[in-house]
Symmetry: C2
Subunit: 257 residues, 2 copies
């Protein structure tokens, strides 16, 4: 009989977020689940790690009916994965899934995303990993319809593995009825935030800012995650963490440095 | 007469760190300098941005003799660049330089690095950008010998520009006399941290951890940044922020998803 896979679950919205509770439920049907997730929201943390401060990581019981083991951690999503793999788990997990994020991690958002940083950190540790996100920021986001896709993608990664240095970034469009047109393998769209700072004055008379902005997509390719999502497809982007711009090395060698 | 270039300087060690003070001095010889840097150390912040909290950004005078304008910011390195480009500066800078980081940002450290995230953020905003780091964590690091290289690399970027989506990651080896064997254009080495968590008990009896670890390089290529640095060369890696693993797209299309 085949051994049940060991699956590590984490996220960046915090261990009580509806997104991770839905992800745990789906993973319980595929393997033995251990959750190590932040004890508070960590959105926009990027690949931050905790160097100058202490980390707490303790068992917690959120779901009396669930078979999974759970730990809440005071650190970032990347910290959670490092702690899980090196301290909490007694063997290397067969899969790490992160999410389901409340909000998009498509296009350049992959860079700012705590959800995807957890997946990338797992990839760095040699663990096949997937980040899942739904394009709905609300706590009442509708996760109906995602489960079968999530299970299928996770099972494929368990069966086929992933190449060294590659993790998956999966985004679900927001739909009224939880029905998707299908799934597309995509590249990251060349799009970015146009920041607008909301300048205010605090009660002590000091000026401060809130970071806001609008997302601008000038990439008209139909092979991008942005195109897939705006056409009601689930987007799957293979993501790498060798950031070398290999195509520019030859040119750079011709510079007078 | 050619207009003097506008140069944005930032870092992740904080605005008073010797590394950034040396970088400002070098940049003052190339153009008009505006500094927007964190008011406290931000090492290991990765590409974190401040979403759920306020940002302060105020003028500060650290160097009475310097011609540069300076602002200290309560946010992360990526926040500093966003604020500088969208609020502080009245035109898009011609160059953004980040550093000089006290410590290595070679290999996978590019992912965790606040220094490099600032450079990447500038790249996302369409500003040519370079991150500089010295392999010496101490506050008393010896920056002698770096200035001529830094000026030459920055001048090359000012003269030649950089392709869309590419920034430079420059690391200097630690030398006794500030003399380097030369400079190498490199790829990011496949190396990573082997974490070791130092588990302790706090005065209230609660267990906590410190993140520590050793860096393991199993990449024996002589075209890597790790090779260059251990052989006393300055490493220059072109870094991209399209993270798509293009080489895996075809294979992924053959999966049953």
């Amino acid at each position: 009989m085949k051994k049940r896979p060991l699956i590590l679950v984490t996220n960046d919205d915090g261990i009580t977020a509806p997104g991770i509770r839905n992800l745990i439920e789906a993973m319980n049907e595929l393997g033995d689940v251990v959750v190590v997730a932040p004890d508070s929201p960590q959105s926009g943390m990027g690949h931050a790690i905790t160097l100058d401060s202490t980390l707490y990581c303790n068992p917690i019981n959120i779901d009396d009916d669930g078979p999974q083991l759970e730990y809440k951690c005071s650190g970032t999503p990347a910290d959670c994965v490092k702690l899980a793999v090196n301290e909490i788990l007694n063997r290397k997990p067969d899969l790490c899934v992160s999410g389901i994020n409340h909000g998009s991690n498509a296009s350049i958002n992959v860079i700012y995303s705590g959800t995807m940083s957890a997946a990338v950190e797992a990839g760095i540790e040699g663990v096949p990993a997937i980040g899942f996100s739904l394009l709905d920021y609300t706590w009442k986001a509708n996760f109906i319809g995602l489960k079968s896709y999530i299970k299928k993608i996770a099972q494929n990664v368990l069966d086929n593995g992933l190449p060294d240095g590659v993790v998956l970034n999966v985004n679900f469009p927001r739909t009224k009825d939880g029905v998707f047109k299908g799934l597309r393998i995509c590249r990251q769209a060349r799009a970015n935030w146009k920041e607008e700072f909301d300048k205010r004055v605090n009660p002590q008379g000091k000026e401060y800012y809130w970071l806001t902005g609008t997302f601008v997509n000038l990439d008209h390719g139909e092979d991008t995650d942005m195109w897939a999502l705006s056409n009601n497809y689930i987007s799957v982007v293979p993501v790498q963490f060798d950031l070398t711009a290999h195509h520019f090395i030859q040119k750079l060698n011709s510079w007078d440095l």
